[in-house]
């Protein structure tokens, strides 16, 4: 039976095979996004000593489905004098890069859709395009609150992208490769080989910049409910709003996956010995991913919103110098010190 299925798979045309592979990545991803929203509401509720959604389905488990159905059937209102086409295309531009970047994510040593040579750069290029959705949405809405949100978001994303890019330069120096799979392979051998130890400053910068890149609390000035109502997506309703939400959560999961791949050893078990290696690699990967994703929710429940000028100061005057110094440290350590092998 399985052999017949394997032969059948080989006989299928390439495009159909690709279609199945896309589906196998995107459908679980969208499901994960839906339940990530529920997890966020539940986690924050428990941190606030509340209960959270518990009415729809057993223990509130059907809440994301109810939300999705509600948003799908809501009318999508286009504001007066809005730029119609740009208004409608903006949510798509926000979501597409967040989904497209998953093409190169290695789940295990062999399970990767496109094992391309410069996959780290590919991810960086695609995530840098996510800002267009926000900027266009803010401009096309013809609303000053949306526009303010878009301006803040553009400045913030451009600032933190540089720090993020430099953090990744450190990773590729340590791994000696731009290929995400090889970056994980370079971290094999146990917990102490994972890059978060030798590259700890870059790990911290990357994680915090990731929170800022996805416009999450405490860096959520682009939405800033208390100042500019909801920022760039204030004029969106129905599916447009839902797609922005999907994009934000898909980006959070993506940043978590990238953090795991680049600093926390991807699919590797913490120690390469018996009880840990019984668990398959993909379980380790998703377990670490969930831990990082939980941090995003924890941050939101814990920290008050940063002031805008302090966000800019942190990005330009703290993170970028830290990454630049640590890149020099990595280069120096690799060439001149006896612990160079530890740096990759």
């Amino acid at each position: 039976m399985t052999e017949a299925l394997v032969t059948l798979w080989g006989e299928l045309p390439l495009l159909v095979q690709l279609g199945f592979k896309f589906g196998a990545i995107l459908l679980p991803l969208l499901g994960a996004v839906a339940y990530y929203t529920l997890a966020e509401r539940k986690v924050i509720a428990y941190m606030h000593v509340r209960i959270g959604p518990n009415r729809v389905g057993p223990r509130g488990l059907l809440q994301p489905i109810a939300d999705a159905v509600k948003l799908m059937f809501k009318e999508m209102i286009i504001p007066t004098h809005a730029d119609r086409y740009l208004f409608l295309i903006a949510p798509v531009l926000a979501l597409a890069p967040a989904l497209g970047a998953w093409a190169v994510i290695p789940f295990t040593d062999t399970l990767v859709l496109a094992d391309i040579d410069a996959s780290l750069l590919y991810v960086l290029a695609l995530t840098s395009m996510g800002v267009y959705g926000v900027v266009i949405a803010g401009w096309a809405s013809n609303s000053k609150y949306a526009f303010l949100g878009a301006m803040r978001s553009a400045a913030q994303i451009v600032a933190y992208e540089i720090a993020m890019g430099f953090a990744l330069v450190g990773v590729l120096m340590a791994a000696g490769s731009l290929n995400l799979r090889e970056i994980v392979v370079a971290q094999s051998g146990g917990l102490h080989e994972w890059f978060f130890l030798p590259l700890f400053p870059l790990f911290a910068v990357y994680l915090i910049s990731g929170v800022a890149e996805t416009n999450r609390s405490p860096f959520d000035v682009a939405e800033g409910e208390s100042e500019i109502v909801a920022g760039f997506h204030v004029d969106y309703s129905g599916m447009g709003f839902a797609v922005f939400f999907l994009a934000e959560y898909a980006n959070m999961i993506l940043i978590s996956a990238l953090t795991v791949i680049m600093f926390l050893g991807g699919w590797h078990a913490p120690l390469p010995m018996a009880p840990f290696t019984w668990v398959p690699g993909i379980v380790w990967f998703f377990g670490k991913l969930a831990a990082i994703a939980f941090l995003f929710l924890w941050f939101r429940a814990t920290f008050p919103r940063y002031r805008y000028d302090q966000i800019m100061r942190l990005g330009w005057k703290v993170f970028i110098p830290v990454t630049l110094i640590w890149i020099t440290v990595i280069g120096f350590a690799k060439v001149f010190t006896p612990i160079g092998h530890w740096f990759g």
Partner: protein, 203 residues
């Protein structure tokens, strides 16, 4: 037609159409977005030449950073389209002469026999393990390191020049000193006073 040719013609068509729209569309924000599309299609064409590092860098630098800042500025402009079109008839003769000269030059270059599928054949594909990122890195940091450093210094000069042109010291602006804000202690700002629960307990 092979699959690669189909891909090439699709992206080439998108590239030409979006480049035309950049100069013809009226709304400047839309023009900037068509320029983004043009960059993106050009990057896809480079990918068909197996130049993935250059293609991704084009997207990363021009689409991800330069055009975002461009859009940032354009969105803040308040452009009156009627006013911009007012002088159209005056500029038309000069503009058309410049356009004709440029088109003539391009046609001359194209007909010179230096271009075309026979003179510039598709580069041969590389082996599976070949990494053009690594090859480019080796070239840039060994053989062409001098030119690379000169380019970097020129960019640095441009940055410093732009900053010094726009930097003004304004005495009336009050700056915040974050290091002082961070160093503030609770004792500097609040004083805790013991209050009796009821007035009569005071004795």
């Amino acid at each position: 037609m092979t699959f690669l040719e189909v891909v090439f013609y699709v992206f080439a068509a998108v590239l030409i159409a979006s480049s035309l729209l950049v100069v013809t569309v009226r709304n400047p924000v839309r023009a900037a977005l068509f320029l983004v599309l043009a960059f993106f299609s050009a990057a896809c064409l480079w990918l068909t030449l197996e130049a993935e590092f250059l293609a991704i860098t084009l997207v990363l630098v021009y689409v991800g950073a330069v055009m975002v800042l461009f859009l940032f500025v354009i969105m803040m402009l308040d452009i009156d389209i009627a006013q911009m079109r007012a002088g159209f008839a005056n500029y038309l003769p000069l503009g058309s002469i410049v356009a004709l000269v440029m088109a003539g030059e391009l046609i001359l270059v194209m007909l010179s026999g230096e271009f075309g599928a026979t003179e510039l054949p598709r580069p041969a594909g590389q082996a599976v393990g070949y990494s053009n990122t690594e090859a480019l890195g080796r070239l840039v940091y060994t053989d062409y390191v001098f030119a690379f450093e000169v380019a970097a210094v020129i960019l640095l000069v441009a940055i410093i020049a732009a900053i010094s042109l726009t930097l003004r010291r304004r005495p009336e602006t009050r700056y915040q000193a974050p290091e002082k804000q961070v160093r503030v202690r609770k004792e500097d700002r609040i004083r805790i006073i013991k209050m009796p629960r009821r007035p009569e307990e005071k004795s």
